[in-house]
């Protein structure tokens, strides 16, 4: 993914820093608890939430199971509606396509509506290297861009900043990028939003090229959908002459009607509203209304590799609502930056190691960035079983095994630093395969229980430092079973 994150420390090291930052923890706690409570109310308003969730899950699963067909269909429909479709295998290719398209217009600046896909591929940096300036226009993205910072939340990327920090960033940095912040800017949200409005309006009005992502694309009609609140999306989608949309191949839904599910579940799950203020849909180009040229860049960048994993592919159902972040006890304390990716929180912990592979230290550590409490699965509007995938990925990290990387089947080596886990798993496998030895071991453990230490020696010391070791029972369960009624019945 983006070069920004190369060399990120593993999750435990990054989180260690974050949990000691009092301001950050305060900002995060306030944000996640506020939105969590609002979301529960918004979901309770619709009596058929369970059915909508199940329908969403099935629509996405069905699409993924026939993705080749739907990709061809969306290409055909977009082309028929006057758009041009490009295919990008990886980040480099997508960046090259977009850069060439912008250069062909003769422009040296673009306005962007918030897009996870373009962050994932590091598009802004790639454009910058070619002398093209990309202006982020979502308020939170603007805060992140001006602060030379990284996003830390899917929905509200600047959630780690409080109003005082935002005021300082605006006052200091806006003049570098265009219209300076008004004199005497205070830290009230209304004044800060007004400063952003004035700063960005001059860019919107002169922009000739817009860059977007999409929340959904409809295979049947070739329609793209962008869901937003501020109107910066509408500005980027309708004022420029050229519109370039970079969209992950998993964003397809088969039919127009399918939107009836997601336009109900997405706003309530993400911003906890009945409906977000603005939703824009467009199908190719329309004479006299909006951009005259429309390009769709279909992005793979690890998605087909993820699709090849029968357990992990469910991560591609994600509609980027961020509900899982707001309920996660680990995210709440560690913050988004510790995940080392544009996709933080529980979904990031399963998406990033699949899109990027588990070769790097940070990616190998992400499946462990969870308490496996299951709250993320409960709130997910497309029912992604995040704990299941986490456990699956942990196994892959520890044991290695066959995976698909860049379209090729390879056999992953076990990661370093998990020798104790592997040894324990091997020992468990052997013991369960040798019932006699297991029985002897269990009886021995029971009879020596008076002599067991309270803490573990060696590498287990850290684990038992904060936990009580489970006491060994006086009698193994299997002996008890033999001795009692159940055992007699079973013995015959």
């Amino acid at each position: 993914m983006s070069g920004t994150f190369v060399g990120m420390p593993a999750f435990p090291a990054a989180a260690h820093e974050a949990v000691r930052d009092q301001t950050l923890r305060g900002n995060l706690r306030h944000a996640t608890h506020t939105i969590r409570a609002k979301r529960e109310k918004a979901v309770a308003e619709v009596a058929d939430w369970a059915q909508l969730r199940e329908a969403g899950r099935r629509i996405k699963d069905h699409t993924l199971r026939h993705l080749d067909r739907y990709l061809e269909q969306v290409e055909e429909a977009v082309t028929a509606a006057g758009g041009t479709v490009h295919w990008a295998v990886d980040a480099d290719e997508a960046n090259r396509i977009v850069t060439d398209l912008v250069k062909a217009t003769g422009e040296s600046e673009v306005v962007k509506v918030k897009s996870m896909a373009t962050q994932e591929i590091g598009l802004n940096e790639a454009l910058e290297a070619e002398g093209i300036r990309a202006y982020e226009t979502d308020l939170a993205e603007l805060i992140v861009q001006l602060g030379k910072d990284r996003p830390s939340h899917i929905l509200v990327p600047a959630i780690h900043r409080n109003r005082g920090e935002i005021r300082d960033i605006f006052a200091r940095e806006m003049r570098e990028w265009g219209r300076p912040a008004p004199d005497g800017l205070t830290d009230t949200p209304a004044e800060l939003a007004e400063a952003a409005r004035l700063h960005l309006r001059e860019k919107f009005l002169r922009a000739k090229v817009g860059v977007s992502g999409a929340n959904f694309m409809v295979a049947e009609t070739g329609t793209l959908v962008v869901v937003e609140s501020e109107g910066n999306g509408r500005m980027c989608l309708t004022l420029p002459e050229t519109l370039i949309s970079v969209v992950g191949i998993e964003k397809i839904v088969p039919t127009w009607r399918d939107l009836e599910v997601f336009l109900q579940t997405l706003p309530r799950s993400s911003t906890a509203e009945r409906m977000n203020p603005y939703t824009s849909t467009w199908t190719g180009t329309t004479d006299g209304d909006g951009p005259r040229t429309f390009h769709l860049v279909l992005l793979d960048n690890g998605r087909t590799d993820t699709l090849a994993d029968e357990v992990g592919r469910q991560a591609l159902r994600c509609i980027r609502c961020s509900a899982c972040l707001n309920v996660c006890p680990v995210y709440e304390r560690a913050g988004g930056h510790a995940y080392g990716s544009v996709y933080p929180g529980p979904i990031g912990a399963i998406l990033s190691p699949q899109l990027r592979g588990t070769a790097s230290e940070i990616d190998a550590s992400l499946p462990y960035a969870s308490s496996l409490c299951g709250a993320c699965y409960e709130v997910c509007p497309v029912a992604i079983d995040i704990p299941e995938v986490l456990v699956h990925l942990r196994e892959r990290v520890v044991e290695g095994g066959p995976v698909t990387r860049a379209g090729n089947k390879v056999v992953l080596k076990p990661a370093k630093g998990h020798a104790a886990e592997r040894a324990a798993m091997r020992a468990a496998r052997w013991a369960f395969a040798h019932p006699g030895a297991l029985r002897t071991g269990q009886r021995l453990a029971s009879r020596t229980r008076r002599f067991h230490p309270r803490t573990l020696p060696g590498p287990g010391r850290a684990w038992s430092g904060s936990r009580d070791l489970p006491p060994v029972p006086a009698e193994p369960f299997r002996d008890w079973w033999q001795r009692t009624h159940g055992g007699k019945d079973g013995a015959k």
């Binding site: 944000a31 506020t34 619709v46 058929d48 059915q51 329908a55 099935r58 629509i59 069905h62 199971r65 026939h66 993705l67 080749d68 990709l71 061809e72 509606a81 295919w87 990008a88 295998v89 290719e93 308020l139 805060i143 509200v156 600047a158 959630i159 109003r163 935002i166 949200p189 800060l192 939003a193 409005r197 960005l200 309006r201 009005l205 329609t223 501020e230 509408r234 989608l237 309708t238 004022l239 191949i249 039919t255 009607r257 939107l259 009836e260 336009l263 509203e273 009945r274 409906m275 977000n276 203020p277 603005y278 939703t279 824009s280 849909t281 329309t286 006299g288 209304d289 909006g290 090849a308």
Partner: protein, 229 residues
């Protein structure tokens, strides 16, 4: 090999476990969710629309067709609007009572010209009660997408009850995906700063929705959300 072939090839190899006769689309999804939430009379649906619009800080007015021109003239006068943009196909009677100079939306008018316009008056394609949403589809009485975006004040007229549906599924049924659509639920807003909601960032900061009811008696009413200008 082109990137297209490469990606499609990867997708097909990745799906090797999916049987060729996998469940077809028509059977893959149980549509057992509700078409609308709750049983409501037409009046109740319109009332819910008004409530939900106001809840998201739109200013809602209700009137008869006869009272509409003077209501619109009053709204523009209240704001001190000095220019009014109307789409080419708008009912001429609606802005007939106002003296505010008219600006026509032309294909070659620039975004900067639109930025100098004070107010815009449009119709809509459909309104959704359960979510408090109005949908514009670029029809002749609604104009191009940019005209309801750049000016700071948008007055949108909804014909009641013909244009009102209960729910999102009912709205999608009525809309044509080939047209560019804009769904609007309240004025522009952001919650990016400490999750405090602030109305008005880039889109119009004031949204006034007029529910014109041809069946009602000639009564004009307005409901403004608390704290609105």
């Amino acid at each position: 090999m082109s990137s297209r072939e490469r990606i499609l090839g990867r997708v097909r190899r990745a799906l090797a476990d999916v049987p060729r006769d996998d469940t077809p689309y028509e059977e893959a999804v149980a549509r057992d969710y509700l078409r609308e939430h709750g049983q409501r009379s037409v009046e109740e649906t319109v009332e819910l629309l008004a409530e939900n619009l106001a809840d998201y800080r739109a200013i809602v007015h209700r009137c008869t067709p006869d009272a509409l021109p003077s209501l619109i003239a009053g709204l523009l006068a209240d704001r001190g609007a000095r220019s009014l943009l109307v789409p080419a196909g708008l009912d001429e009677r609606w802005p007939a009572a106002t003296e505010v100079p008219r600006v026509q939306d032309r294909a070659d008018s620039t975004a900067h010209e639109l930025d100098r316009v004070d107010s815009v008056l449009t119709a809509c394609a459909v309104a959704i009660a359960e979510t408090g949403t109005i949908v514009l589809d670029g029809g002749p009485d609604q104009g191009r997408r940019r005209i309801t975006l750049v000016p700071d004040h948008h007055i949108c007229v909804v014909r009641v009850p013909d244009q009102v549906v209960s729910s999102v599924p009912q709205a999608l049924e009525r809309l044509d995906p080939a047209r560019p659509l804009t769904w609007i639920s309240g004025p522009s807003a952001t919650s990016d700063i400490e999750l405090d909601r602030v109305e008005g960032v880039h889109g119009p900061r004031t949204l006034e929705v007029v529910l014109v009811d041809s069946r009602a008696s000639a009564e004009v009413s307005s409901s403004r959300p608390e704290g609105s200008r």
